[in-house]
């Protein structure tokens, strides 16, 4: 049993993984920014 073409599978998998996690991380960052701004604004009040 050989694992021919394993590199192709791995790269496809890693691309999917990276894209999805990049997406989740960017949402998380944007959410964090908003919440920080919210806290700043509400503490000023």
């Amino acid at each position: 049993m050989t694992y021919k073409y394993f590199a192709y599978f791995l790269s496809a998998f890693l691309v999917i993984f990276a894209v999805l996690f990049g997406w989740i991380y960017s949402i998380y960052r944007r959410e964090k920014e908003l919440l920080d701004e919210y806290r700043r604004l509400s503490s000023e009040d």
């Binding site: 192709y8 599978f9 691309v15 919210y38």
Partner: protein, 227 residues
């Protein structure tokens, strides 16, 4: 009143459940499913490629449906659903367009061929790029939302025409595998179904995450208004 998405226990549980499912699928794909004698590991890209396409399909359907609801109700939440679905649909579309050529390189010998499904996905991808540019360059407001709803609907009703036309356009290039899933052996079948479920759940989860952010964004802009 403004909280992060993962402060809710339900969302955390969902994230963990999807991660576990993801690992299970990966295990099944790597260690359990049979190895195709010709394509070997490259064939296994299929377990990720097809669910991505399926997810993109649901997403674009959601864009069109929420566009219709938005036009009739003018309720902002339908616009949010449309925008979030369009973003995720384009994201999964991109995954389809990336994994397709990775698979095709060793199997067809060339990464891109003008194969009907690939072409359809590419055209949809281009239409949605236009959709985002419209949202970017149109003024932020009711009019842009209305127009994007219209584009979302028009894009979706166009899908069958696009598909049929590219199918007969390059009839000689129809190399794309057409697996009848029900005739597949159990290991392949169930792994595929599980992957499909994982991707669908992932989509719903990401959609809710994005919607939560959109809600925060509009709350925030109202707050900036008041100050």
């Amino acid at each position: 009143m403004m909280e992060s998405f993962y402060s809710k226990a339900g969302n955390r549980i969902m994230a963990i459940a999807i991660s576990v499912l993801w690992l299970v699928v990966l295990y099944l794909v790597l260690a359990v499913t049979r190895i195709d004698p010709d394509q070997q590991m490259a064939q296994k890209i299929f377990y990720y490629h097809v669910p991505s396409a399926w997810t993109a399909g649901i997403a674009f359907l959601a864009v069109a449906v929420s566009g219709g609801f938005y036009l009739f109700t003018q309720n902002e939440k339908w616009d949010h659903l449309g925008l979030a679905s369009a973003e995720l649909g384009t994201l999964f579309c991109a995954l389809v367009l990336i994994t397709g050529p990775i698979w095709a390189k060793p199997i067809w010998g060339e990464p891109w061929s003008w194969e009907p499904r690939l072409t359809t996905v590419l055209i949809m991808f281009l239409i949605y790029i236009g959709y985002f540019l419209l949202r970017q360059f149109g003024e932020i407001g009711e009019r842009t939302r209305r127009v994007s709803a219209v584009i979302g609907i028009a894009a979706f009703v166009n899908v069958p025409i696009i598909y049929v036309s590219v199918k007969f356009w390059s009839a000689e290039a129809q190399l794309h595998p057409q697996p009848g899933m029900s005739q597949q052996p159990a290991d392949v079948y169930w792994t595929f179904i599980l992957s499909l479920i994982t991707f669908t759940l992932l989509f719903v989860h990401l959609l809710r995450n994005r919607l939560h952010l959109l809600k925060l964004q509009s709350q925030m802009s109202r707050m900036r208004d008041d100050i």
